[in-house]
């Protein structure tokens, strides 16, 4: 007996990842759905509980603040994976490679180059200098291979027509790769049957790829075997689990600011056998807290003298200081033009239509349609500070209007994208929930995109907010490997009696 997970499933007019129309799954999902339906609701619930216990035991948690002490929460992974075909993926991959190349060129141009894009009028200088993320302290410090965004997380959404668009760029400390890898491990443990005969591209090589990239940006003084460390703010940071994950998967030390010391512009870590030289610091600390001599003097998380060492070329800081200017949401609006300027190519992945509010005409038009648009602050992370026009109250819209008029540089307006939805297990059946996708891109001498990425789910019905800190969840993301003929592959059908766990199927 197949369970009735999807009996009452409705796409409700949204682009649905799984269903072309009610009851009609897309080809690359049909076998998966069939397999899923062999599990009863109770069986799935049992596996969900096991998933929660496993995640908690392993400490795969993040910490939510805003309550008295930080509370550790597990980031709920929905049991139904999201599947991307090989053809779709090759389009996304090409778009991401192009975009990250442009962003790296732009940042290098600004910090060590001639500021050509500014000189040639592609982006105004004052937009750059007024960005919170523009770091004057990084001026003139070169980055090996120009790989300023060595790790980039480019958030993609799919609109009502099924077109993938870039929603935002995260170029400072994009997080979530640990969930990508752990979700895959969890799926293989909880629902191994779903993978049968399915060419899902692996993601567990991330540590190796990242370490390779970090080694390639080490300074020449490092020699053949650079010493790489992951610099964390510490156990109280909400993403601490990921920092541990990164250090463990690369086999390198996880350090805090107080474990490092700078002597004569060289960085060392304090070990039981004395000081050991460090060549690459993969830091998951914001610029502002990185070095109290040069940035916030009250920061106890950073390493005094680190910037001086970087300037002298004895150590490489990853991601480079000052990337925030390129993930400023106002600068985001210029990326298509920058793509044409640096590469002489049309952007493969389009932006979401964005309005810059210091322009009087754009401002007027936006203020006229405030209740139809999404208003975002240019420098916030975690989905905070966003006003979604159609869902906002009159007071919220009025405040929004005031804020825009008072400080137009601080806000952008975007058309509301009707995000795609994906069936998600809610109680004993499936319901559509809005999702996005954060693929991870590594840049060193080449650009490498990790297959898939983190699919984030807005767990609350109707909500468009997917961030973990605000009640989001995730899905394992499967990118199908291309078949030999290059034809779009499908999750293949398997007879139910050949398949382990068939005995558990209720009649």
């Amino acid at each position: 007996m197949a369970s009735d997970l999807f009996n009452e499933y409705e796409t409700e007019g949204f682009f649905d990842e799984v269903f072309e129309a009610a009851g009609t799954p897309r080809p690359h999902y049909s076998a998966l759905l069939k397999r899923l339906s062999y599990f009863s609701a109770e069986e799935l619930a049992r596996r969900e509980r096991r998933r929660d216990a496993d995640f908690r035991n392993q400490g795969i948690t993040f910490t939510v603040y805003g309550e008295e002490e930080g509370i550790e929460r597990t980031f709920p992974m929905d049991l139904m994976p999201r599947v991307i075909t090989a053809d779709e993926w090759s389009h996304i991959e090409a778009g991401l490679e192009q975009r990250v190349t442009v962003l790296n060129r732009f940042l290098d141009d600004l910090y060590v180059g001639e500021r050509a894009a500014v000189r040639d009028g592609i982006i105004p200088w004052w937009v750059v200098t007024s960005s919170d993320g523009f770091s004057r302290e990084a001026f003139g410090i070169p980055m090996p291979l120009g790989a300023r965004c060595l790790v980039a997380g480019i958030d993609l959404v799919r609109d009502g027509a099924g077109v993938y668009r870039v929603l935002e760029d995260n170029l400072r400390s994009p997080s979530g790769i640990s969930y990508v890898v752990e979700n895959r491990v969890a799926m293989t443990r909880l629902l191994p049957q779903m993978f049968a005969d399915t060419p899902v591209r692996p993601v567990d090589h991330y540590g190796r790829s990242l370490l390779g990239a970090l080694n390639r940006v080490a300074p020449p003084s490092a020699g053949d075997d650079p010493t790489v460390v992951v610099l964390t703010p510490g156990v109280f940071n909400s993403a601490y689990f990921e920092h541990v994950f990164l250090a463990a998967h690369m086999g390198v030390e996880l350090v805090e600011g107080r474990d490092l010391v700078v002597d004569d512009q060289v960085v060392y870590m304090r070990t039981t056998k004395g000081l050991k030289r460090v060549d690459v610091v993969y830091r998951r600390i914001d610029d502002a807290f990185l070095d109290p001599v040069v940035f916030r003097p009250d920061s106890s998380l950073g390493v005094p003298g680190l910037m001086s060492a970087a300037r002298s070329g004895s150590v490489t800081i990853v991601n480079a200081v000052g990337n925030g200017v390129a993930d400023d949401k106002a600068v985001y609006a210029y990326v298509p033009a920058l793509t044409r300027y640096y590469l002489d190519e049309e952007p493969i992945l389009p932006n979401v239509e964005t309005y810059l509010l210091w322009d009087p005409d754009q401002q007027a038009s936006v203020l006229n349609r405030l209740d139809q648009l999404v208003i975002k602050p240019v420098a916030e992370a975690g989905g905070y500070g966003i006003t979604i026009g159609p869902a906002a109250s009159d007071e919220e819209l009025a405040k929004c209007r005031e804020d825009i008029i008072a400080n137009p540089r601080n806000w952008i307006a975007q058309e509301l994208v009707s995000l795609s939805r994906h069936p998600t297990l809610i109680d004993d059946h499936a319901e559509g929930r809005h999702i996005d996708l954060r693929p991870f891109v590594l840049t060193s001498d080449v650009v490498e995109v990790i297959p898939g990425g983190l699919t984030r789910v807005a767990m609350k019905k109707g909500s468009l907010v997917v961030n973990s800190s605000q009640g989001g969840g995730s899905k394992d993301t499967w990118v199908l490997a291309p078949t030999r003929e290059g034809v779009e592959s499908e999750v293949s059908e398997v007879a139910s009696d050949v398949w382990p766990g068939a005995a558990e199927v209720s009649a």
Binding site: R56, G59, M269, R270, T271, T272, P292
Partner: protein, 322 residues
């Protein structure tokens, strides 16, 4: 390895050992008193607190000296840094900050121990089924130690973890011996059995000495046995091995020197001589020597990074000093 990580593992080892030994002591004390009167009970609980080194701390709470209060204090009082729950939480925190240098199994073992102890109704269990509770705690500690032993590479992290265990264990056994031997009026058969049980030594002792409860034999066993893993000598010798392995091949480090001397003393000690002299004084001296090794370890390996609180330096024209 990172000096801070080494320090965390050293302390994790000590906390785990402390939790296990406290649970064992409580179990033995509680059950050893079931057939005694109130006065004897008070004496026994007082000596248990002494054995843990927390007599003053307990008295400072102002609570009455009863089985219930002492058990609560030693098991679940979060204000008491020496309680079992504090030790387990501290061990977990220490391991959490170095988990990337440990195996996943190791982290999961300590993490699930901590989660399960948090989820138990300790208040009820202390009162109604203490033996089960203490047995659970001991088994969990042993599980963590076993997982660590089976899954960790024999590197410096492992050595510091063991070093912490062994130094803590040595100090414990020494203290138990001192407190029980000296503070009980005239330790008789039952008291010695209790002492041996507190060190999980009863069966091994019996196999070794075939039922004799001659004080000299018991003391020799607990203090000087080279085959029983919980004896002070054995623990000190294991600590010496760890410190030797941590050495860099040049001169012996200060902690290695200190522990080596202590081990040599114990190796060649004569139990009858000890007993006929100032035995309590000797035991105090040994305990002090063990603590000396612990501080020497800190000075030598855990570069004191707690002083790094940074102060800003800024000068303002006209206003001068800042």
């Amino acid at each position: 390895m990172l000096a801070r990580d080494a320090e965390n593992l050293f302390w994790a080892g000590r906390y785990l050992e402390r939790a296990e030994d406290t649970a064992r002591l409580l179990d033995v004390t509680y059950h050893g008193l079931l057939e005694t009167n109130a006065a004897e009970q008070r004496v026994a609980w007082r000596s248990a607190l002494e054995a843990v080194g927390l007599r003053d701390a307990f008295e400072a709470t102002g609570r009455a000296l009863t089985a219930g209060n002492v058990s609560e204090f030693l098991v679940r009082d979060e204000e008491n840094p020496g309680s079992i729950i504090s030790a387990v939480e501290a061990a977990r925190e220490n391991v959490r900050t170095v988990r990337e240098s440990l195996s996943t199994e190791c982290w999961e073992a300590i993490n699930s121990f901590c989660l399960s102890i948090r989820s138990r109704n300790l208040e009820v269990e202390i009162e109604q089924q203490p033996h089960e509770l203490y047995g659970f705690i001991r088994r969990q500690c042993q599980t963590v130690a076993g997982v660590a032993s089976e899954t960790l590479a024999r590197d410096d992290g492992w050595r510091f973890l063991r070093l912490g265990w062994h130094l803590e264990r040595a100090e414990w056994t020494c203290r138990i011996l001192r407190v029980r031997q000296v503070h009980l009026e005239a330790p008789g058969f039952h008291e010695w059995v209790g002492t041996l049980r507190s060190a999980s030594a009863l069966e091994a002792y019996r196999r070794n000495s075939r039922g004799s409860m001659d004080p000299a034999d018991v003391i020799e066993f607990l203090l000087l046995s080279d085959s029983f893993p919980r004896s002070v000598f054995f623990a000190i010798r294991s600590a010496e091995t760890s410190l030797r392995e941590l050495g860099t091949g040049e001169e012996p480090s200060q902690p290695l020197r200190l522990v080596g001397r202590l081990r040599a003393e114990l190796e060649f000690a004569d139990p009858r001589e000890l007993l006929s002299g100032d035995f309590e004084g000797e035991l105090i001296r040994i305990e002090r020597a063990i603590r000396g090794v612990c501080s020497a370890v800190g000075v030598r390996y855990f570069i004191n990074i707690h002083d790094v609180d940074l102060h800003m330096l800024q000068l303002f024209p006209g206003a001068g000093v800042e």
